[in-house]
């Protein structure tokens, strides 16, 4: 099988030349000045390829490190190994269908991936959602935020060699997804948010599981905190590592816990309130240091805030329908709408354009993982090779969201 042109879109090329694809130096001539500069090695320097299959890169991220001894001089993250063409697929699906495409983007927090497009479509339609549905959205999302942050704690320890916390994490995560499966019908890709409301009302199994969980909420998170927070190895490896200054974070466009760890109290739930968050009482957790340890601590605190929100939501849940009365085939008037929410990783936004048909004309997804991952390039040079894993884990990127 002859290979005519090395097009990255042709699977045969990749199959025929697998070695060239994962070697550190690309098989083609440099395409930009930056590439030419990066792949030209100085004296005593070498390239170290990490990924795309690596247990500590959170999926299929590939990082090419330029190292001098044990120190990182420069790095080149290579993305696109999980590019599934969601935005293009959504253009050829109707509005309900495109929610199912966005579902597996950030697969640890699927409900947030559904909520943002659903809110954008509702703004296109100028639709009001029943209050009970809003409360159900907040309830399920905050449950999933706890699950996501607890997984983060486990994976961060795992990437640095601590094998125990991930077991605690998965005990809690399995409990949460089983609970949400009782509510939504699916264990991981829930497909729960619908345009105009949610898919199902509270049921007995969900409430009994939730009540059971609330009686010991956060216990697993505390168990992990006990293992990690004052663990000498963990603290020594994370404190002061990969610090981002406040201005640098704002310039990079970081959002979410990574930004709040730098001392900027920006939370979309407070800054641009949506759903019923204005009625709920919670704190925006911040830290000042901006280092890896601070990013970890901010997430630990956010778990407690989420549990606080869940408690309030359960007490104030109104009665009523969970779906607005809308036709099955929806055709929003031509226009544009933007909706942003606070996902566990930051500001997750959706920009939808309608041309009056039942399919989105353009559907843009702004994913926080992608933006946060940029921070690797300015903060990693100067660190040790092993710190790549710690810093990458603390930024908590999910490659499904990065590559879309």
């Amino acid at each position: 099988m002859a290979v005519q042109s090395p097009s990255l879109d042709d699977p045969r090329v990749l199959v025929d030349t697998p070695a060239a694809i994962v070697d550190a130096i690309p098989p083609y001539a440099p395409r930009s000045e930056r590439e030419a500069e990066f792949y030209a090695l100085g004296d005593g320097q070498m390239l170290l390829n990490i990924g795309p299959h690596h247990p500590a890169t959170h999926g299929v991220l590939r990082i090419v490190l330029k190292i001098e001894g044990e120190r990182i001089v420069d790095l080149d993250p290579v993305l696109g190994y999980l590019h599934r063409g969601v935005e293009k697929l959504a253009e050829n699906a109707d509005y309900h269908h495109s929610i199912a495409y966005t579902d597996p983007l950030e697969y640890v927090s699927s409900l947030f991936n559904e909520l943002a497009p659903v809110m954008a479509f509702e703004r296109l339609l100028d639709l009001r959602v029943p209050r009970r549905a809003e409360y159900l959205r907040v309830l399920s999302c905050e449950l999933l935020r706890v699950s996501s942050h607890i997984l983060f704690m486990g994976f961060m320890a795992l990437d640095m060699g601590g094998l125990t916390p991930i077991l605690y994490s998965f005990i809690e995560r399995d409990e949460m997804v089983d609970m949400l499966a009782a509510l939504t019908g699916q264990r991981m890709l829930f497909n729960y948010m619908r345009i105009g409301g949610v898919n199902g009302d509270l049921n007995h199994e969900f409430l009994s599981r939730l009540g059971d969980w609330m009686s010991r909420a956060g216990r697993q998170a505390e168990a992990i905190s006990t293992l990690l927070n004052e663990n000498e190895i963990f603290v020594k490896r994370t404190r002061g590592l990969g610090a981002i200054s406040r201005g640098q974070a704002l310039n990079l466009g970081l959002t979410g816990p990574n930004l709040r760890a730098c001392g900027v109290p920006f939370d979309v739930r407070r800054a641009h309130p949506y759903s019923v968050y204005p009625e709920l009482d919670f704190d925006v957790v911040t830290a000042d240091e901006g280092d890896t340890y601070a990013r970890y601590l901010v997430r630990v605190e956010e778990i407690k805030q989420s549990i606080r929100i869940i408690d309030q939501v359960l007490h104030e849940m109104p009665d009523g329908p969970v779906m607005a009365r809308i036709p099955r085939r929806i055709t929003p008037p031509p226009g544009r709408a933007w909706a942003a929410i606070e996902s566990p990783r930051g500001q997750y936004g959706c920009y939808a354009m309608s041309d009056g048909t039942d399919q989105p004309y353009r559907f843009r997804i702004h994913d926080p993982s992608f933006v946060n991952l940029q921070a690797l390039v300015p903060i990693l040079p100067g660190c040790l090779i092993a710190d790549t894993m710690a810093v990458n884990a603390s930024l908590d990127p999910i490659m499904g969201g990065v590559d879309k």
Partner: protein
Amino acid sequence: MAVTPGDHAGEAPPASQMAPAGGAASAPGAVVPAATGAAPAATDSLPELAPGSALAEAIFVANELWSSSNTAAHGGGHAPSITHLAEFEEIGERGDDARWSSLQVVPAKADIVLDLLRVNSLWPLLSGLSCCAFEMMSSATSRNDIDRFNMFPFRASPRQADVLIVAGTLTTKMAGPLLRLWEEMPEPKWCVAMGDCTVSGGRFKRSYSVVQGIDRIMPVDVYVPGCPPRPEGLIYGMLKLQRLILERRGRWSARAVGPTVPAGR
């Protein structure tokens, strides 16, 4: 110890089909039973081993423990020409009774003992591509605990793994690295396609960048559908894989690696 691929079936795959990177465990040049076709040679005993072969010798154990009530039924008590179970199934005899009664020996080839060892210590490769990886990890942690079924250490290196669980959407950009992982695994090896995306493309089947089922580029032994499958589903699939290994139905030696489209797609 080198266990040759395809030897049990009486045929040797062409050397070009051997995974080039798996040279640590397979020695294609050293063991070639020199069979010309797919049909097993009709000798009066087990297929002959090449001199100097690293394949373990067959162990003959007389079947004195049990015999069929009707000795004329299956082969009439004559020594069968084929003694391996997989080949015996091919000639149409099905069912445990028929299988065992016409054999004069219990086919306790060392291969079968090795198969039992392999089945009871399957080491999967820790390779998550996307969503399904979390259910795969969930199956390995406390609640589901795939360790109970003798599949414990998720190895991070393909050199130490037996099973490749492809968990998550395979895109065209990842196809090359994944194939390289598969070729780096030493033989014998097996592949499990976990999730709709790897089985057929799933909900991303119509995307321009997604491989529509990993069986287009590599052999697959067990398909576990679901989006994503529950951990129980994966465990069920892995139990099926154990049985498949015992029955010697693995496909890693029979099919070439490369961009193939199976018939009927």
